[in-house]
């Protein structure tokens, strides 16, 4: 059976959920061979094996953290040369897309980004994508070279499927471009203790209607009562009420949770671009004409300062 390269997104050996979802998709087209780079790479093997990786290629070098993107492209290319896979799958993070794109140029392959589903097809893997702020769904293929495809989080279920997961060291030689862009300092983000926005099953977002940084507490309280991640519209971010890392939309994160709750958000096209594929959508807005109501499964026309605390109280009461 053909092998499929899967690029592993991990933090010091802890594999992030989108990579496990990729393994589910990879098994539809072949046998997953994982590529894990950097500190803790070998520690990823156990969980990758549980989810279907037949092999885990690992490499660590200071270049991976000291320079931007290109060292990782060199490593992924080394893995590509070693395996000659039927496809290369990479998580659709900002960095993942850049790594995938540069690899695609080097190996003379077409690239598909931000797939939301993947199936085997007669002429190679068929990717489903959302276009024009998710108002269209397209099906595409790579027609030249080995398909390189990046896949969004929450596009497939995580499935257990035990495989060997044999660890093999990957030999990497860095090219002249690898050290072109130096990372002179790195400030890690402080953890909020809440789920990762793109991976969360429930997202609770606030917009301009929240009317002040101090009021975001009521959005956070609702989120915590549901074990949800917190999102924000660009208007709320631009006003400085909530960090940009939490922005949902075209120029923020694109989320696809089971449940999305929008409070004080009008539902502009650029916001919808990042949340329209959510399974269930709920909105609270005092303007009955707000476009967000076109998307909702359930909407409450009312003042969020009344509705949200009441909702949070009721959830807490029901959960006991």
């Amino acid at each position: 059976m053909a092998e499929v390269l899967v690029y592993v997104d991990h933090v010091d050996g802890a594999v992030r959920k989108p990579t496990l979802e990729l393994l589910t998709l990879a098994r539809r087209i072949g046998e997953p061979v994982a590529v894990a780079l950097g500190a803790g790479a070998e520690a990823t093997a156990a969980v990758l094996a549980e989810h279907g990786a037949v092999k885990v290629l690992t490499a660590d070098a200071p270049e991976f953290t000291e320079y931007l993107v290109v060292p990782k492209v060199d490593a992924l290319q080394a893995a590509y040369d070693a395996v000659s896979p039927a496809a290369v799958l990479v998580p659709s993070s900002a960095e993942g897309k850049e790594i995938a794109a540069r690899l695609a140029v080097r190996i003379g392959s077409g690239i598909i980004t931000d797939a939301i589903d993947l199936e085997a097809g007669d002429e190679g893997p068929v990717a489903t994508q959302a276009a024009f702020a998710a108002s269209f769904t397209t099906k595409s293929r790579v027609s030249k070279g080995t398909p390189v495809i990046t896949v969004k989080p929450n596009s497939a279920p995580v499935e257990a499927a035990a495989a060997a997961g044999t660890v093999e060291a990957l030999a990497v030689t860095f090219g002249a471009l690898a050290t072109g862009t130096k990372v002179t300092s790195r400030t890690p983000r402080e953890s909020t203790g809440r789920p990762e926005l793109t991976e969360a099953a429930i997202v609770v977002s606030g917009g301009r209607g929240v009317n002040g940084a101090e009021n975001f507490g009521i959005i956070e309280e609702l989120a915590d009562s549901l074990g949800a991640a917190v999102g924000a519209s660009r208007a709320a971010v631009d006003a400085g009420w909530y960090p940009h890392t939490n922005q949902v939309g075209q120029t923020g994160k694109s989320v696809s949770p089971q449940l999305y709750i929008a409070s004080g958000i009008s539902g502009a096209i650029q916001h919808r671009a990042g949340m329209q594929t959510s399974k269930t959508i709920v909105a609270i807005n005092k303007d009955a004409e707000a476009p967000i109501f076109d998307l909702v499964d359930y909407g409450v026309v009312g003042d969020l300062f009344e509705v949200v605390p009441q909702l949070t109280g009721e959830i807490k009461a029901r959960k006991g």
Binding site: L68, D294, V301, E306
Partner: protein, 261 residues
């Protein structure tokens, strides 16, 4: 020596219009009003600021696109760019990112450059990978997704706010930079700027001038193929209630019914 800045700008269908696909499954660029991609205005703005700081700089805006794409160039010129290059050729219709990036790379090399600046993503294709591909093709450092950028003594530095960390980056020129919408509001063209733009040079290049064969680009030359495009079914109309004092409780009831609580 003058700092040569090339800004890549894309002409895109208006996101607030009724965007759709044409019969050949390419983006319909005829039926929907187009404009300079808002995200590329940030690239033009940063170029203008970098040029202001430099002793001597020249900003060229570059687009690959149909006849109407000149509108995008005019807008960038009226913001303050010095000159423009429009790569236009019937054979370009339907190019994917590999084709477009090939054309842009050849045009950038022909124009001559020290610094290439792009937006973070186009608002129609939204791939956000072209800057990285350009760096790969040009063989120069990639300094992408910057929310802050500075150029001094032949070195570009900037801040990249990633998912797990905020990074400070540094590279020597020549380099490819992309900037996000966090890099600072773009200026509006002034009346004077609009008038001045009318006299600024706009060159038109075709594929011959860039030594690119028709087969390397366009729909036929694409390395990806779109097999189908379907409008997402409208979401079934949901329940909408007006809050009469019990709105939060009603919503909780709905969420419980859906097993979220």
């Amino acid at each position: 020596m003058s700092l040569r800045i090339v800004v890549c700008v894309k002409y895109v269908p208006d996101a607030t219009g009724d965007r759709h696909f044409a019969d050949d499954l390419t983006v319909d660029r005829d039926d929907v009003d187009g404009l300079l991609s808002e995200l590329d205005e940030y690239a033009v703005e940063q170029a203008l600021q970098i040029a202001d700081e430099a002793d001597d700089a020249e900003i060229t805006v570059l687009t690959v696109g149909p006849e109407d794409a000149k509108d995008a160039l005019r807008k960038a010129l009226s913001m303050g760019a010095d000159k423009a290059i429009h790569v236009e050729d019937d054979d370009l219709h339907g190019s994917d990112v590999m084709g477009t990036s090939l054309v842009l790379a050849k045009a950038i090399e022909k124009a001559g450059y020290d610094l290439v600046i792009t937006g973070m993503a186009s608002t129609d294709g939204t791939m956000g990978v072209l800057p990285a591909i350009l760096a790969e093709r040009l063989g120069v450092p990639q300094v992408t997704l910057l929310s802050e950028v500075k150029v001094e003594d032949g070195t570009v530095t900037g801040r990249r706010d990633g998912d797990s960390a905020s990074e400070q980056l540094e590279a020597s020129l020549p380099a490819v930079v992309s900037v996000t919408d966090q890099s600072g509001e773009a200026r509006y063209p002034s009346f004077k700027g609009i008038m001045a733009a009318k006299k600024k040079p706009v060159e038109s290049w075709d594929l011959d001038e860039l030594d690119i064969e028709a087969e390397e680009v366009g729909l036929e030359g694409s390395w990806t193929a779109v097999d189908s495009a379907a409008q997402r079914p409208a979401r079934t109309a949901g329940t909408i209630v007006k809050d009469e004092g019990e709105g939060g409780k009603q919503l909780a009831e709905f969420l419980a019914g859906q097993k979220f609580i």
